[in-house]
Amino acid sequence: MIEAKGLTKHYGDKLAVDQLSFNVRPGVVTGFLGPNGSGKSTTMRMIMGLDGASAGDVTINGRHYRDLAWPLHEVGALLEAKAIHPGRSARKHLLMLAQANRIAPSRVDEVLEVVGLTSVANQRAGKFSLGMGQRLGIAAALLGDPEVLLFDEPINGLDPDGIRWVRTLLKSLALEGRTVFVSSHLMSEMALTAEEVVIIGKGRLILQVSVDELLAQGSRQSVRVSSPDLAGLRRVLDDNGATTSVDDDGSLSVRGKNNMEIGELAAQHSIVLYELTPQTESLEEAFMELTEASIEYHGAASAGPQLEKEIQQ
């Protein structure tokens, strides 16, 4: 269980994380979503006690990271790929970490096997590709067989086979009852892996929601309509409870009425239609919309609830 309460981080004048509160519970994969630069990595470093919080607090199973008796036995983290001395071998890198927390040296070979680096374990890490670096980082996270795991963009640099492997790994770690917190800037990736997501933008919490719920909200339908009498059509649709907006290309985007209803309404009012196309908004688009909005509403005190309401409409 990871609990963040009002977590805030300033870098000089820049506000990187802004009063972030969320819970990550055990037994499920929790995605940590946000565009690049939204404060995901900073938050993860604060969880690990690497960066000090300017305000607020974050605990792991009720304790601060700095107070853990055997940190690597309790928390494992992949914070960045290739954060390793290029002259040191993968095996020695893991060994020195194991020794620092009295983890059996035999465990080093076990995790190397798990991530598939056994054959290159004695090679200098400087020669590793980004994907191999990620695997080594994952091995380091698994080293102490911890209850709580953090992964910052774990699929970066992995090939399709590696990506599939990471998805399976994350899910099985959660199935074993562990707390798994994974950051990503790809909604589609989290839709495949996570059960719950914490979405942030510009360092602020946008919402914490289950993926199922988000899918239900996210795949809402809209209809693309164009007509020579756009204003007239819009008035009719608005009067009948639909939500309309004009797109960049001059066509109308309609929600709350399907293509048949729109067609019938247009016919009743003798409005000519040129186009009537049902659109399905992808999860990725829903996410983009959410995070863009966070930029737009940045500074507004009620950004969180306001957006949440908007999604539920």
Partner: protein, 276 residues
């Protein structure tokens, strides 16, 4: 590359107590010896120390009879330890790299994840690196002495371990090099960048004396005796019973130890305060 999609079966065995200095020292030992540059640098220290000693001693003996003016106040021990001037630079570079290598590569975050009590990391690193450096420095110092004295031989004057002051010079040199290594480690912890830390180290050791040189002589003498380079030189140059301008070797070593201790305390403080 083959990968297993299953995770190992969990059998949690968390040790009793808490991770300790001993655990971290074991980790630091592995870190130190698992990068090639350490072995290269330590090897180079011994090689250069002995090499300079051999050349200086051999040259002196060759020209001994033709240069009688140099016999006055000749200290064969000091001559055979001349390699210290180069060795201190190499050891300093190693001291810097041991710490800046962690910051530069991001390994420091892995290190602090394993040990969030950061000062303990500094202590473990200091002990492991300090002891290794001290041993290598002592070995280099003694070997340089024996090699140098062997090459000096007749007709030149040469020393033995029982020559007054000889043992003090040899041990003093070893201790000085050990402290220089820790001093560099401290600098690197504060500065964190390899190039910056090495420049600062070389600046303090080699450039600072020259910068101070234009000062009026009386002031220069008062100030320069506090410089590490001057302290190091005095360990080698003040013969028994001689009264030099600077501190005596033991006082000099004490001052050097104080510098190092202060720098390491500052290091510990900034290490805790800064984001990793």
């Amino acid at each position: 590359m083959t990968t297993n999609s299953t995770v190992l079966i969990r059998e949690k065995r968390i040790p009793a107590g808490r991770y300790s200095l001993t655990d971290l020292m074991r980790s630091e030992w592995t870190k130190l010896l698992s990068v090639r540059s350490t072995m290269w640098t330590l090897g180079l220290t011994v090689f250069v120390g002995l090499g300079v000693s051999a050349i200086a001693s051999y040259e002196t003996r060759t020209h001994w009879l033709s240069q009688p003016q140099s016999h006055v106040g000749f200290d064969p021990t000091s001559l055979s330890l001349a390699g210290v001037y180069v060795a201190q630079l190499i050891i300093g570079v190693l001291g810097v790299m041991v710490m800046s290598g962690e910051y530069g590569t991001g390994t420091i975050r892995a290190t602090f994840s394993a040990s969030p009590r950061r000062p303990l990391v500094l202590v473990a690193k200091g002990i492991v690196f300090g002891v290794v450096t001290l041993v290598v420095a002592m070995v280099t110092s003694f070997l340089s002495f024996f090699l140098g004295q062997g090459l000096l031989s007749s007709p030149a004057v040469h020393a033995t371990l029982s020559t007054p002051g000889a043992l003090r010079e040899i041990v003093g040199t070893g201790l000085f090099l050990g402290l220089i290594g820790l001093f560099a480690l401290g600098l690197a912890t504060v500065i964190r960048h390899t190039a910056g830390a090495i420049s600062t180290f070389v600046g303090i050791l080699l450039v600072l004396p020259n910068v101070l040189r234009p000062l009026p002589n009386s002031i220069y003498e008062d100030v320069s005796k506090f410089l590490p380079s001057r302290i190091g030189a005095n360990i080698l140059s003040i013969g028994p019973g001689q009264q030099g301008n600077g501190f005596s070797p033991w006082v000099g070593l004490l001052i050097m130890a104080i510098y190092t201790a202060v720098l390491l305390i500052i290091s510990a403080v900034v290490m805790v305060r800064r984001d990793a």
